[in-house]
Amino acid sequence: MLSIAAFLEGRYAQAFPSFGSERMGAPVMAFCRISDRPIRLREPVTNPDALIIQDPTLLQQVSLFEGLQPDGFVLINSARSLEELNLASFLKNLPRNHTLAVPATELAMRHVGRPLPNSTLLGGFAAMTGELRLASVLAAIRQKFSGKIGESNAAAAQAAYDLVTQCMPIPPLDSLTRRTREEAHVEAD
């Protein structure tokens, strides 16, 4: 959906999972590159500009943050704060407002009725990084999911966007700097 949102803004995007045999409950990683030029690189993202962690139980794996850019963003799906997650000190070297925990599952439950935080997190991502416009994210969600499901997912994303915008008094980085942005996000089925 991230790649579709970028596409809708007229940008180039490449999205792919780190591939494994289809298995319910197994950790899954997915990558997305967004650029204003055609993307030729074909390798996993090892130095992300942003990390979206959909399943906080995976935080046990310290190497999750390996390679994250010094000015990278971290968005974690959790109702607990970064301090409660024992991450505050770990992420303290990142710029202010580049790290955030968002209760995406709870928001998804409220708006969609299912604990599927994917779309919700994208709304938070848009707010935190300013990399994509909310309108693009919502349009991508509606393209992926039709009808009521699309609407409810979009509502959840909107809610996350609003929540994040509230938490961040300083406006997000302007993405007018034209360079390839790479994001990775971690999720579990």
Binding site: S3, I4, A6, F7, L8, Y12, A13, Q14, A15, F16, P17, S18, F19, G20, S21, M29, P38, I39, R40, L41, R42, E43, P44, T46, Q61, S63, E66, G67
Partner: protein, 417 residues
Amino acid sequence: MWKQIEGSRAIAETVAMCRPQVICAYPITPQTHIVEALGELVKSGQLAGCEFLNVESEFGALSVAIGASAAGARSYTATASQGLLFMAEAVYNASGLGLPIVMTIGNRAIGAPINIWNDHSDSMSMRDSGWIQLFAETNQEAVDLHIQAFRLAEELSCPVMVCVDGFILTHAYDRIDVPLQHQVDGWLPRFEPTQVLDPDAPVSIGAMVGPEAFTEVRYLAHNKQLRALERIPEISGEFYETFGRESGGLLRPYRLDGAETVVVALGSVNGTIQEAVDELRQDGIAIGSISICSYRPFPLDAVRRALSDARRVVVVEKSLAVGLGGMLATDIQMALSGRRHKVYTVIAGLGGRAITKASLLKLFHQAKSDALEGVTFLDLNWGVINRQLARETATRRSGPAAESILKDLATLPTKIV
């Protein structure tokens, strides 16, 4: 029409637009999304006049395509890895009989050890079967090559494999210009078979041919591929005229001007290679690359010409001729026979190991200083190798090699795969 779409989905939509009449499918990672999407298009009626068969094995799949093609229908199937091997007998049968079947190979490693990730060992195993083999560098090219494949196959009465890197391309969402039905209709003519099972004009297809004529029949197959060498660039040109895109052809050079070092590769790794070339050029290093699209027939003359000014060639390939070195490298060396180029074989990306720009930069630096061995395995973990060899020397009953290695690796920190 521009779409942000999964490679497999784009391929399926494009194949559907070629109006195949019989599609047969047997699931195998990583081609499943293609045939599933096609099944949906048939069932929903969007692809009309097409019979979709769920077959019982890959051998069954290609056999169905053989029968359908012989009966005058445009036929399509897709497979990978183990599946391609399972239908090996039928692969040779299809080309031997001259049936213009188009088949997508979602390139995947062949086991043992079982591995679902990308490399070229599968299509390489069939490289001398008489099928035409075209490699896609991007998902856009994967889409375009299928349209070209049907025309090429039917003109020559020769089956065509379109090779698309499994997962790396098939499962990636990319910005792709998916053609429109009227464009394809205008470009791809109806299938007019050179031989057909028709009760009104009966013929016998599949005779036994003895020593007195077998060589001649085989020479004609060889001749067909030589003619393909002419047609492939022409078809690519004809494609450009209608669709406005460079796609296909025999090979594509990248920054060869004054390039002392030229990297040659098949498929998607060329994108990463081009990024590395750009970086090195910025540092003033004379390097370029060639992406080979038509692997069979192998464009000996075109390769020879393209490499004529190079001093050294680095072949980066996702295939291994066990005990020997490279497969693509061997063909490159044949093209360069009599010339004084240094050819370095680099075996990379086997079983889906990522080929990173960082590794390539290091590799190309070594190459330009001629500090490479004749055959190099990129990013090989020598610690693991040496420990395994030591284990095998120490005990007779050293157990399954793959298991021991995996156990060994488990003690190392987790890495992003």
